[in-house]
């Protein structure tokens, strides 16, 4: 579903991603871990299409489309979703109104019929019920005055509503307590299916106890340096990122 080949990305003249390769198939959950500054958030933002990133080499195929040629809203309509690490607030814009407009914009792009208010609300209540989220967030402006946990919940709710083919969770677990974490994991697990794939970007192994990945990758110095199954995450937790360094370049670390 997603094929990234030799991706090189610069921001403000500095190269952050240095030849990243990644293949994700439908139904799979991939975890990406790595030290700070490695480029994890850069990856999420580049895939979603944020401006300010210069792609100097490489390709990204999303299904049969060249992802890098599409505008952010087109990528969304093609089925890509990014759950932000720091969701921005949009005061004055009602959350429900925003989501209905977004969903309908995507449906229109795909040639599907748009939902009217009644149909939309029905869909919303269904998703809220499944996720055990109160409908109170429907009445508020987008993320305005939301606590950190509420913002993350809103991201998961949006994901459930928009039903993407590929969902990228950018450090969704940061700043969450154990209950909020479990809730996020439940939301994701509920959406796992043979047609859908997830990329879970995280610092800590803990989330991966709840969202069990099929593959774990370590992103360091701008590229994926090691891949493995879920046990790799445990090893990282035990030994830290330096351990990866050692395994890659033993000569360097033994001075």
């Amino acid at each position: 579903m997603l094929k990234i080949e030799n991706l090189h990305v610069r921001i403000a003249g500095k190269e952050i991603l240095k030849g990243l390769n990644l293949t994700v198939k439908p139904g799979e959950v991939h975890a990406i871990m790595g030290p700070n500054g490695a480029g994890k958030s850069t990856l999420g933002n580049v895939l979603a299409g944020r401006e300010g990133y210069e792609i100097t080499a490489g390709t990204v195929d999303f299904g049969d489309k060249d992802l890098l040629q599409l505008e952010p809203e087109e990528r969304a309509a093609e089925g890509l979703f990014l759950a932000f690490q720091y969701p921005v607030e949009i005061p004055g814009v009602n959350n429900t109104y925003f989501l209905k407009a977004a969903l309908n914009a995507q449906r229109k792009y795909r040639g599907e019929s748009e939902l009217d208010s009644m149909q939309f609300l029905k869909l919303v209540r269904e998703k809220l019920r499944v996720l055990h989220i109160s409908d109170e967030l429907l009445h508020r402006a987008v993320n305005a005055g939301f606590s950190g946990g509420e913002k993350k919940r809103n991201e998961i709710f949006q994901m459930a509503l928009l039903e993407p083919r590929l969902a990228i969770l950018d450090e969704t677990d940061s700043g969450l307590d154990i209950d909020a974490l479990k809730m996020v994991a439940e939301g994701v697990n509920h959406m796992r299916s043979a047609d859908r794939a997830f990329i879970v970007i995280t610092h800590y192994q803990r989330l991966l106890d709840y969202i069990v990945p099929d593959q774990v990758h370590v992103l360091a110095e701008g590229r994926i340096v090691e891949s493995g199954d879920k046990n790799l995450a445990h090893k990282l937790e035990e030994h830290g990122y330096a351990w990866i360094e050692q395994r890659r370049t033993p000569e360097r670390t033994s001075v």
């Binding site: 944020r50 809203e73 949009i90 004055g92 814009v93 009602n94 109104y97 407009a101 949006q158």
Partner: protein, 479 residues
Amino acid sequence: MATERNDIENALNRRYEAGFVTDIETEYLPPGLSEEVIRELSAKKNEPQWMTDWRLKAYRHWLTMPVPEWAKLQIGPIDFQAISYYAAPKARPKSLDEVDPKLLETYDKLGVPLHERAKLAGVAVDAVFDSVSVGTTFRKELAEAGVIFCSMSEAIREHAELVQQYLGSVVPVGDNYFAALNSAVFSDGSFVFIPKGVRCPMELSTYFRINAMNTGQFERTLIIAEERSHVSYLEGCTAPQRDENQLHAAVVELVALDDAQIKYSTVQNWYPGDENGVGGIYNFVTKRGDCRGARSKISWTQVETGSAITWKYPSCVLRGDDSSGEFYSVALTHHAQQADTGTKMIHIGRNTKSKIISKGISAGRGQNSYRGLVKVERSAEGARNYTQCDSLLIGKKCGAHTFPYIEVKHPSAIVEHEATTSKISDDQLFYCRSRGLGEEDAVSMIVDGFCKQVFKELPMEFAVEAKKLLEVSLEGAVG
């Protein structure tokens, strides 16, 4: 969410059945201003002597006044001798085919019904087609309620006592430079009188007045609400109106007696000129409401997106005890537009309240200034004011400026002022786009959220139009 762009060819091909009649008027005065011109102007309108004298007094006063230069506006010099004060309508386009296609495109985007487009574009329209029947039924209803709603010219002839009693009582002839000029040469406007205890059965809209579009550049309006009466008045329209006359210096006076309420809503989109502001209209207006009676209430709501230069401060004089004044405004400046607008709330009576919600949006190279005065006089025990003035900047070349003036002379007054300035951030835009919304839709949505507090004060049809108008006005604002 963006207005569907209909195929303009199709729209134009639907032939306008009635056909057009060119209406050639032969009366006109050559450009220039003098006592002679004013006398002639007054004579052409068949005005009584007292009206002519009133105009002359205003003119003589105007001659002694200097042109005001304190606003944060760049205005080219205006040659008052080059304006004709009683001009024939210029040769009009005979059909929509002769009208600037860009203008037609805008009508299309705003969803203006076809038969209105002709009128708005200045195409001479057969009077028979011009909603005469609508006007008639509506006048009948008003007449039954005792409401007078007619043109100012008619009022001067038919309701002289009322006019004499109230005209100039809220905006005196010498109040300011443009008011003085207006008093001398005003062309026409609306006159509204609501008798005691009457709630006007419908919203009064200038649209219903026949020839509303041709009131000329010096419009004069007077609205009187007697004890316990209510009226809601709508002025303007969303479709851009072109006019060769560059200067529009109107005066609007509102009078509310005991327990009366006047709601005055304006949606104005005067032609802003081209992208460099050339040819746009100067909208210099004096609007003031006098809450003369106890417990009276006057509320101003405006959405201003047009004009090359907007200079206006709809204000309230809170004379009656327990009276209240409100001002809700959205002012947009784009391309090279400038606006210096705001309000004045003058607290004189006891326990008076005022509320000011001003939203300024600047885009392109637009310059938007809010200038507000909250004045609490020595007599105004228990005065309360709440002011919120927010600015939204779109892009890197626009400007927003705030000049709040607060003068308080009574120790019991409570005056609150909040102000915010924000940008539509890249983060917000990206968030919207990452969910599937296009850039322009995202900007519209965010701007609408910003203006919500003001839009909800507008009568419904106006609110819907105003939203669409903002969307159209902001096209190309991002990037």
